[in-house]
Symmetry: D2
Subunit: 130 residues, 4 copies
């Protein structure tokens, strides 16, 4: 388990005509969460060699405008050439979202997947054991 969190303030333009936070904005929030977590590892800030392979989001509760959202990375599992991130979002104590994303490590020149560098592996595993 990992305990990394960020705070997001819903923006008025992120609402839609239904009065909810739009689902595209929520996909964007999970990207913010994932990027901030990766940057916090202090290995390679922009992670230019990562490709998003898949995203899954469960909308477990409504997200309202006017209340801060806490985004948490609750786990990150390093495979051979990929990392799977498990995230959750809350408004107060109430869970609103659950998401999973898989990033694949690529070598741009050859467009092939390559082993996740040990620096990431160690940085993430030390967080998991913290």
């Amino acid at each position: 388990m990992i305990d990394f969190s960020i705070t997001l303030s819903p923006r008025l333009y992120e609402t839609d005509a239904m009065g909810h936070i739009n689902n595209a904005s929520i996909a964007a929030w999970f990207e913010v969460l994932r990027v901030r977590f990766m940057e916090s590892l202090d290995v390679d800030a922009l992670g230019r060699s990562w490709i998003l392979a898949s995203v899954h989001i469960d909308y477990v509760g409504e997200t309202f405008y006017g209340e801060d959202v806490t985004g948490r990375i609750v786990d990150a599992v390093v495979g051979n050439t990929s990392i799977t991130f498990h995230g959750e979002m809350y408004q107060g104590e109430r869970q609103t979202l659950k998401g999973t994303a898989v990033l694949v490590h690529m070598e741009y020149e050859t467009k092939t997947t390559v082993r996740v560098p040990d620096a990431y592996r160690e940085a993430i595993n030390s967080r998991r054991n913290a």
Copy 2:
């Protein structure tokens, strides 16, 4: 199987510093595809009583700026209180994306799930058999 398609032209602001179409924009494209399909059923244009329950997107190939994207609904399965949409996106003959979304039908006043109206059931099933 269903054969419904729309064309999307990637926009420059939908690219990011990596030079790819950003994943949040892609989640937005799948919403456009789903909404246009629902509107095409001509049952209830805005679908105000539908709540997104989950979204899953597989990034099966790179999406490039400068080439139109064809978004297809390839199937839609009506359950008791929900509809599951299966979509795909292509640039030319090359598949770039695959997505699944589940919409749940809600009664706003009581915030409870209610059976998908027969009008939707019939409209979708007539498309599946077309």
Copy 3:
């Protein structure tokens, strides 16, 4: 003069293929600044009866990813039926953006402009004299 500020952290998806923060994201940031200022007046949180009449943005310096942005409302001038907002954005000491927006106060039922309520007038003028 008014001294109201917020902090914004540029998000990776707000960059574009040129490596800059996209100008549409910057228009969105000015909306966030304006809305947070209006909410801070504690008169009418969502301001449902305000219509944006015009926006002007000068891109006075490049905005980079990876550094927080400070958005400031430096003045707000209340007219008869409108409010003109003057904003600025900075990365550190360096000014990156300057913007002006005019919001018009509308009565929705009749779709006519109506005088800015005194509660806003007083709240804004007390900020200007603070």
Copy 4:
């Protein structure tokens, strides 16, 4: 005068809780219009050496979801180191938006403004006289 137009279909996520198309989306539409016009000149598709200096948008009428928008470049004036674009948007016969943007031509290595290449000058002026 120039006569260049594109069609944009408002997307549901571009609406906000007020039920209007959000102003940040409209700034994005003007970028789409400007970029498509520049691409149509067939001089340098991505225009990597252009920096946005300023944007001005007048919201002259409400933009509604559910009706296509026609964006027009009505004029483009080439200065020494910049181009000023004049655009308009319509829903049917009804004008909804008016916008002006100034792009400055930059040499990236030296970060100085440089004269607009003659190829752009000629391409734009031949459109103005068409």
